[in-house]
Amino acid sequence: MTSKTILYDFNNKLCAFTRIFSDFTPPNIEGNGLLSGYNFAVKDLLDVEGYTTTAGSIILANAPAASRDSAVVAKLRAAGALLVGCTNMDEFAYGFVTENVHYGTTCNPHDLTRLAGGSSGGSAAAVAAGMVDFALGSDTNGSIRIPASLCGIYGLRPTYGTVDDTGCFPFVKRLDVVGPFARNIDVLGHVFAVMADKQIADVEIDGLRIGILTGWFQHGADTDILTGIDAIAAHLGGAEYMELPMAASARSAAFILTAKEGGKRHLANLQKRPMDFDPATRDRLIAGALLPAEYVDDAEKIAAQFIAKAEKVLEEFDLLIAPSTPCVAPKIGESNMIVNGISVPARANLGLYAQPLSLTGAPILSVPLRRYGKLPLGVQLIAAKGREDLLLSVAKSLSAADIIGCDKPDYFMGISQ
């Protein structure tokens, strides 16, 4: 159990938490809950009884405190887990960087000069540094998978609708999913089981039909990540290289639908108090609010087509594999990042491979490639809806073979837990 002093010390380095509870002394637990002995943190868009949910914004900072825990927080506490605080995020979950003008920039525990990713960056950094055993984030277009990749931990986007999102501040309702981060794949499985009220058993992984996504999902990817994907496929008995049709247009459709729904959701505050938004969020939300209806109608058409095609592919294949991010964590404050030696805009490109897949509603697990002494990189494992059990079993096998796994960052090594 991490001490409060260590939490504060680490947080001074990382800016992972927006709030560390003063009263998180462990209750006298008998140890009979599935998650007894584990501590956790939640992205500051999940209601915690007695505290105001900010969603990374000062607009909500003076809102009334939540009268009850969000559904997932209640389940995790009932299973014996100890909640220690709320974590930093991009304002209203609109971003992939966790650079928040109000609450600070969350640093990557593997290199404090680099981004942790976002929008659930505080949760990912807290887990990667060993401040907590697990944490919760939300994933609309990649907000769990991207920080999981950059911070070198496991991050699960569960099947859409599997986890009760009551008490979660929404972004794009049709895409929003609450999911867990952990350094240990068994812990991740236990947490997901509690969150989804499911029994998760290990399943047979011999003879899986596996597809490595090419085309859009490999264009611009760091060669290390492609080598890592090949190693994963080889361990699992081989895979077929295949294209997921319409990935580029699906990503664009997701971009448009997200902007429009975000703009619509926040329109009243954009009208009343635009200067209270983080400028990076405000300018994108206003652009979304102003979008012509034609853009949205066309995006809907493409989204529907892509979903149908992806469902067909997920009937033909048990498992799909793709990079989570194109490259390692970009430097803080640099608007561009290097992908395969080429400089590209960081904010827009971190979500390249994660964003189109959100539309499918399928479960996606970002797993950290084992990269001793190098900055982390993650790989997405994708299965049919409801098959989190398959993803977890595959990850356990890969972890046992040391192909994937989490390294604690040097600075944080041996200080906690």
Binding site: F255, R282, D283, L290, K301
Partner: protein, 57 residues
């Protein structure tokens, strides 16, 4: 198939649209807004071209 045009939004267009939605735009935020709208227009072009391709099949 028609080539989609990635139009740049003018300040005048943006301010007129914002008025329709009752949003006040601060002068210094206009360049970023133009940039974001342009990016969304580029994405719409990608979408539109995919629709055209589907129709042509």
């Amino acid at each position: 198939m028609t080539q989609c045009s990635t139009k740049q939004w003018s300040k005048k267009e943006i301010l007129a649209l914002a008025r329709q939605y009752d949003i006040s735009i601060a002068e210094h935020t206009v360049p970023k807004l133009m940039e974001n709208l342009f990016l969304l227009t580029v994405h719409h072009c990608t979408v539109k071209e995919a629709i055209d391709e589907m129709s042509a099949m």
